[in-house]
Subunit: 223 residues, 2 copies
């Protein structure tokens, strides 16, 4: 227990940490279970606000409430911290989208549109980073992230392909249409805020109508 002298001086038992995560601020002690996630949260927020290259490890440490050196207990370096934030965001995205891939073509596409808007709105910072910080990845890390992004884009294209095959959709080029739809949906994050004149449900509905018109046979939307 010699390494926790500071905590003892303040009358805090180290074991309180594992029992109750709502602990007071302190300047020393062992907090691995909460510090790890805090490092990731702080990095996410700061990278999104200022950009990866503009944020120093000292800034992240200050946000977490530790000294810079302590961050290296949770990440081997700054690059890996960025990469893991991006990878986890995309892995979560791929897992969360799965339930949208069942049913008839039109229902699947509607589910995808509504899902994409809601998921991305709930993760403003992570989405922003995943789209903006590609330049700051090492070549290996970039390749892995691009692979995951490609998988997601491909999901939408596959749905359009199946809908065209069924005769449910009329799309000249499903690759172009999928890129157009994803760009349009992701763009919601640049302007939509929950406290504005429209609810998220309003926005989902309007975007679904626009996408529906875009892909419907003869440009006609059945009632």
């Amino acid at each position: 227990m010699h390494q926790h002298g500071e905590a003892r001086k303040r009358g805090l038992d180290m074991n309180a940490c594992s029992v109750n995560h709502v602990v007071m601020a302190r300047t020393q002690g062992s907090h691995a279970e909460i510090t790890g996630p805090k490092v990731r949260d702080a990095a996410l927020r700061l990278f999104a606000e200022h950009g990866f290259a503009a944020v120093s490890m000292r800034q992240i440490a200050a946000e977490v409430g530790v000294q810079a050196g302590a961050l290296y207990l949770y990440t081997p370096d700054k690059q890996t911290l960025l990469f893991e934030l991006m990878r986890d965001q995309l892995v979560e995205l791929m897992e969360a989208v799965r339930p949208c891939l069942d049913g008839p073509a039109e229902a699947r596409l509607e589910a995808f549109v509504r899902f994409h808007i809601a998921f991305h709105h709930a993760r403003l910072d992570a989405v922003f980073i995943a789209y903006m910080e590609l330049r700051n990845l090492t070549p290996d890390n970039f390749a892995e992230i691009e692979g995951l992004r490609g998988q997601y884009e491909r999901l939408l294209q596959d749905q359009l392909d199946m809908g065209v095959h069924d005769g449910a959709f009329a799309v000249a080029d499903t690759r172009i249409a999928s890129m157009a739809i994803i760009a349009m949906l992701t763009g919601v994050n640049t302007w939509f805020r929950a406290d504005g004149r429209l609810s998220l449900g309003d926005v989902q509905e309007m975007y679904w109508q626009m996408v529906h018109r875009m892909v419907s046979v003869g440009g006609t939307v059945s009632p």
Copy 2:
């Protein structure tokens, strides 16, 4: 002429600069007329490739072929260099779009769609910076850039409003539709390259068809 000793040693006359801008590399001399634009070009390319915060003034200087200190003859600081690149891009955009704002509603919208794709494709680096480096502007500079962006977005919304008023378009919410269309069109820059399977004209045509379907009355596109 004492300041041009190095140039003389190489058998180059300083006056050749003002007569013929195609000059050999040299390590010293006066090149204000060409160095200014070269600084901006180098900054544009490097900011687009690595991001504003990740690029040093030394890198820009090396790209131009001068020492870092010399850059400060052409910009008061790095921030102003970024701001002016972004502002000039948006001012050019606002001037170039004007010819698209004449004629009947549908023709205007088609012209806008084709223009946006072509203009942005011709300025990959400048567009990339104008969309990605907003975070790195000081508050004053950010406000000015956002104002210009807002003006451009408003142009499209006005066209949709007029088309709806004429009965040419049916759009539930012209603000949302204009944001969706701009995001969709700007997204072309993330994947389209002139040496791919599609020509720029193909892409313009397909995007116009998609936008046309999106805004047409009853979802029906007249032949």
